[in-house]
Amino acid sequence: MLGIALAVVFLVVLAAIAAVLVWERLAPRTAHRSAWLAAAAVSGFALVALFDFDQQKAGFQWVPDLGLGFEFTLDAFSALFLVIIGVIGVFVLAFTARYQRGKAGTGRFVATTLAFAASMAGLVLGSDVLTLFIFWEATTFTSYLLIGHQHQSEAARRSARQAALVTGAGGLAMLAGLILLAEEAGSTSIESIVAAAPIGGAAWVLVLIGAMTKSAQFPFSGWLPAAMAAPTPASAFLHSATMVKAGIVLLGRLGPGAGDVGWWVPVVTTVGLVTMLYGAVKALRQVDLKLLLAFGTVSALGLMFAAVGSGVPTLVVAGLAVLVAHALYKSALFLTVGVIEVSEGTRDLRQLGHVGRSRPLVAIAVLAGVASMAAVPLTLGFASKEVALEAYLGESSLSGWLVALLSALTVAYSVRFAASLFADKRAGERPRSDRGLLGPVLVLTLAGIALGLAPGILAGVEGDAAVALVGQASPPKLVIWPGLVPAFGLSLLGLALGLGLGMWSLRRPDPAQGSAQQFDRGIERMQLLAERVTSIIQNGSLPVYLGQILLVAVVVPLPALVRNGALPVPPVGGVIEWVIVVFLVAASLALLRVRRRMSAVLLLGAVGYAMSALFALAGAPDVAITQVLVETLVVTLFALALRVLPLQFSGRLVFVPWKGLVAVLVGAFAVVVALVPGSASPSPVSDTHLALSVPEAAGANVVNVTLVDFRALDTLGEIAVLGIASLGVMALVRPLGQIVGGSAFAVRRSPILDRGAAIVNPLLLVFALYLLLAGHNQPGGGFAAGLVASGWLVIVWLSSGAVGVRRALRVEPSMLIGIGLAVAVVTGLGGLAWADAFLASASWSINGGPLGEIKLVTPLLFDAGVAITVLGSVAGAIRGMEAT
């Protein structure tokens, strides 16, 4: 039921967003009226809250295998928030309909506001931390768009960027924290996490950082005042009534699960109270009414953060009472500032002294809002502040006194706000029309006054909301007259102190330095630091870069590798093995001394032949054959290249200590990896391959069967890479033929070579064909066949040059590569026909008469494709190199 209701509301909001955007396109002059449509859509959130909210759940799976899904719960807490979103949203949009009249981009603004309302609703309904996170980020995003709504303004863009960076970074920290919590609790559901009460310190710190950035807690407060660059309705909606409370929502939901974390309550309380002090002191030094309210919001958020975040039932109840009252009076005050801004053309309180007298209705709205903000008796602000003071006195008298003194500062900036509007006795200029903006503001103000006279109405709702968070709590005692209790005394003291302080502050109306500059300096410093680091680690030298990469690759995994203690000592190895290895090591070390390129190439070849000997010794004939063939071709290619490159290296290899150190470390790392227990383990995969090779793939050579059947897709990718590399060689080098004016290799015909080639070449081709056909059951296969055929090509080229090669091949190398790949792919597609899977194999036995039974297997065709691609690639590389 809830699911349907939510779906309907979200769909209505989506439709409204679309309608608003179309409206703006069709009739920009009346686009401001689309805000009414938006208001109607938003009121849906308040309606959803009317559901019987006995833990109604809804949700749908997104990636079930990962346990990802959207989960929503409608309880008293989310219902309370939905009402705030819906009601404040309606007023704000009604205001917007007039405020935006005649302004460009109205449809965009209204649509973004709607999207925000939906995101915020998702955030408070989310009962799964990942759902919560996604909507959390959605509010960050919509907030960014709204702050930067006047995108022509540099300042607006800057403010939007600051808000997005701060809250975005906090969001990422929070995500990490939430994942850690979910890991520890074994579930992403908020309910299970709270029940599991995880104690991971890092997780809770990260979550706290996320909440602090979103709710503008010190030292992350700076973005909120900067966000006042947003149009006033957005400020009223996002940056006072709803979004900035997301951090408090998060702590309210998760806080009760932090009960076993010792530092939680002291830290949350300290953060909140410090923020309260910081915001209030800053507010006292503002001259812009909107900025004053913004810092006031920071201050008020501090109290809510401390109270709701603590997870202590009495404090949570009090925090919620403050939250509701704050949403009501602060949004009304913001909208009032919007009215003043429109009618007076300024928000500077030094120029607004006449407003109090010349605009009585505005004065009433201001006084009603400020009275609630300063917690003057007979207001909702007073009733809820009393509850908070009672609760904190119940905790300890110290915290009670602290909150009372900090509340005096709230009174002070409230006085500064109100008094400045009544400072000037002479009437100002005749105010411009406020275009009926005052209407929604007055309704909101009246609602506030009414609730102030009967605050008890809210007690039940707020009590239920607190129960939804902490399990059990008694509803707040919201009353008009608390009687002569200590808290009331403290309130009166605070009022008196604040009144004096506020009047005094008016004598120092100098604007304070904004935190925006500090943020910008911070960003500048970060860029400077990045430049310095860059200049050190990225100095332009390729060896240095490679050295860094190697070092990181070697050092980072080391702890994990040596975690299991001592490395085993392997068996020494056989005599033949050692003879090969000594030869290999000698050739390798000689590479460090050689001065001629050709010697280096030959030594590399020697190492390669030693490798193939090792492979043959280890029972890997296929690998050994391939290695020998490849090594021969590599030497050939180098020989071709060395017709261009000078024979001598331009300098001796000079020993550089750091390079030596990195090299030794890399070598040692390789030894450790090779020795670590578990790097060689009995592999069940291989056993399966051995067992299935004959029955499933009709092949006895398991290595070949693996390449062309079990893992044929890998092989297909590989030959594609081979072909691409060959095309690359041709593209890189062939044009050089013209550039360096290289002669087409002048062939010196050698009779001996010609005769030899005439005998050897047919044999090579037959051998290649044999390797291809036999490869499925005997050592060999497509790679070996292609490489042997390439050897034939090399001999052709040596004996009769490029012309001979062209004559022998008849097709271009690139065409050959294409044919080979096509054969492989078509064979693979055939698998779809006979086995419903790409590259699936099939075999048929046919009666070959005198030849006996002949087995036809499709992997043979695939292997032919491999061989053709290999031949084409080598031909391409030779043709490319030969052109130089």
Partner: protein, 120 residues
């Protein structure tokens, strides 16, 4: 796994890394080839067991682990492709600069000196 094999792995990696850190492209290329050899030996070293060739022909006795062999075969061919491509790059570099020498990256140098210029 044997001491001989592990020794060869260590030497191949160390020499390969040292040559990789040179500015001469031919040496870099040879170094890359050595590293590829080292990796292939490491794959061989990871075999569950060594024995006769993995052919299912009814012979008795232990059979070598076929999977690492298939991986090595793939790796050899890919290394060949990379070597050919790098060789072409070296030749191209020579044609452009009359040497196959990797100079400092001009743009990176500029950034580095711009930053240090600001510091002073």
């Amino acid at each position: 796994m044997s001491l001989a094999l592990v020794t060869a792995i260590g030497v191949l990696f160390a020499v390969g890394a040292y040559l990789l850190l040179q500015r001469n492209l031919t040496r870099v290329l040879v170094g890359l080839g050595m590293l590829a050899h080292g990796v292939n030996l490491m794959l061989l070293n990871a075999s569950a067991r060594l024995g006769s060739a993995p052919l299912v022909d009814g012979r008795e006795g232990p059979v070598s682990d076929p999977l690492p062999q298939a991986l090595i075969l793939t790796a050899i061919v890919i290394a060949f492709a990379v070597t050919a491509f790098l060789l072409a790059l070296a030749v191209r570099t020579w044609a452009a600069t009359s040497d196959d020498f990797v100079e400092d990256d001009f743009e990176d140098r500029r950034i580095a000196s711009a930053s240090s210029g600001e510091q002073s």
